[in-house]
Amino acid sequence: MIEQWFPNVNWDKMWQATGETLYMSAYSTVFTFIFGIGLGLLLFLTNPGQLWANKITNVFTGAFVNIFRSIPFIILIILLLPLTNLLIGSMRGPNAALPALIIGAAPFYGRMVLIALQEIDKGVIEAARSMGAKTSTIIFKVLLPESMPALVSGITVTSIALVGYTAMAGVIGAGGLGTLAYLEGFQRNRGDVTMMATILVLVIVFIIQFIGDFIVKRLDKR
């Protein structure tokens, strides 16, 4: 029956494209999580009245985050082509999409991390300081654990956005379901291929959302 509805779908190519989309999404999510938390912590801790209060660093980090958050992703990919070439040694393939994906998503996630950290009760940080905790202890034993549900729901949203970005990265020949839908489906006028690629993207998004919600529920003891 599926063969009837999707006569033009080449399943080998479809699964390969799905694998590439998953590969790009997973890698970029992991690095976005790490860099985003770094940026968010830097923004939070350099705020006035915080442990590393520093106006200059705060303003510069804030500007960096705002600039990269505002550039439309499709333009960011093109702007970053030279950097990608330098880092990856190629401008094509799933790996070539990663720098643009991470640089596009980390500042976005960094803002979410900042919001999550600002939600933490100031009194808890004060309590940790009153016990003689070092800044590193406060970061790893107070700030991150106390904001973890918000950090996870933030990375869930970001990861879903990244699945969408990987499809756009198709224009630089990154591969994945986006490229497949565009080249094989749209340009050759094969609607069923586009449809199948869309269905698979939706399935990936639903699974990510489900996993994210599940983890948040397990973590949240409030």
Binding site: D121, G123, V124, E126, A127, A128, R129, S130, M131, G132, A133, K134, T137, K141, V142, P145, E146, M148, L219, K221, R222
Partner: protein, 341 residues
């Protein structure tokens, strides 16, 4: 043990300067429970945070156990803080950790080994009466239980000083009393010095040995709790004391009585310590041919003894009333004639 000398703390806020602590000099003895009372904005929160370096004074000296706190920085300050712990109005527990893990947190900071941590946590949970709740999360506890966790956490590194920042202000009266009993117990058992700030005279009366009254950053009055209760000097102190002695409708009752029998005399008696247990009033009635109306009575117990007030209306011959008042004075009962206009 704790000596504050000419401590000032000023905050810069949008070009205007706020004086939070204004030339405070205080000495707190080892092993005592010292209370600081004041309304919000009086500077007491800033004062208590100066003691563990969460705030640094603009000028002045803070000595704790011979250690000058104001010059401590970095690891020296962090080590000192492990011996000066703090509990908070809103408990400030980590919601992501269980009761046991919350109490363990300061031990992790101090680098205590895991087996030793477990043992210490067990002792502390027994001490504060939370046995059986080790694996609960803070969200599953009542306010009083949360504060017990806060106290256990504060005691984990065997501190010498415990700072209480409005520790009972978010609790209902019954739970407040239970927590105050626990603090008294800890003070007596562990010989810990406790410094607490509050806006409730009830807390001072119930557990403090000495008290300082703060207003607009200054300490306006300080001394033994019973002394301050007997003869408050500053107006603000009198207002705080009326928190625990006034019943509110006394004034109305007195005006009413004054109107009913304009010849009578209203007097207020203050009983101190053992005097509260003597039958002075019975003797008064037996000795003098006058009518005695009780308008209002009240006894407050402080740590070091009871303190009571009694408002009486004396009706009868003016000369006899004078004699009666002289009798009361002779019995070491402080008598005050209330003049009503």
């Amino acid at each position: 043990m704790i000596q504050l000398t000419n401590v000032h703390k000023r905050f810069q806020l949008n070009r205007s300067e706020i004086v939070a602590v204004d030339d405070v000099t205080l000495a707190i003895e080892e092993g005592e429970i010292f209370g600081v009372i004041g309304y919000s904005g009086a500077g007491k929160s800033t004062l208590i945070r100066l003691l563990n370096g969460l705030e640094t004074p603009t000028s002045g000296s803070i000595m704790i156990h011979g250690q000058e706190m104001t010059t401590l920085k970095g690891s020296g300050l962090r080590d000192a803080r492990q011996k000066i712990s703090m509990i908070f109005q809103h408990f400030n527990l980590l919601w992501s950790r269980t009761v046991e893990e919350n109490i363990m947190f300061p031990l992790e900071i101090a680098g205590v080994k895991k087996s030793a941590r477990k043992q210490k946590v067990k002792e502390l949970i027994d001490l504060v009466g939370l046995t059986g709740r080790e694996q609960a999360y803070p969200s599953q506890l009542s306010g009083g239980q949360k504060q017990r966790v806060g106290i256990a956490r504060a005691l984990a590194n065997d501190p010498e000083v415990l700072l209480c920042d409005e520790a009972t202000s978010a609790l209902d009266p019954e739970t407040t009393n239970a927590i105050l009993d626990l603090l008294t117990d800890i003070n007596e058992r562990l010989g810990l010095t406790i410094v607490l700030i509050t806006h409730e005279m009830h807390v001072i009366r119930k557990i403090c040995h000495r008290v300082a009254v703060m207003e607009a950053g200054k300490v306006v009055e300080a001394g033994n709790v019973l002394d301050v209760f007997q003869s408050p000097q500053a107006d603000i102190t009198k207002r705080f004391i009326s928190q625990v002695t006034d019943t509110g409708d006394t004034d109305a009752a007195m005006t009413h009585l004054q109107e009913e029998s304009p010849h009578g005399k209203l007097i207020k008696l203050a009983f101190i310590g053992e005097r509260t247990e003597q039958p002075v009033l019975a003797e008064l009635i037996r000795k003098f041919p006058i009518d005695v109306n009780i308008v209002q009575g009240n006894i407050s117990t402080t740590r070091d003894g009871a303190y009571g007030t009694l408002v009486l209306q004396l009706v009868g011959d003016v000369a006899v009333i004078e004699e009666a008042i002289a009798f009361l004075d002779a019995n070491e009962v402080k008598t005050e004639v209330l003049v009503h206009d």
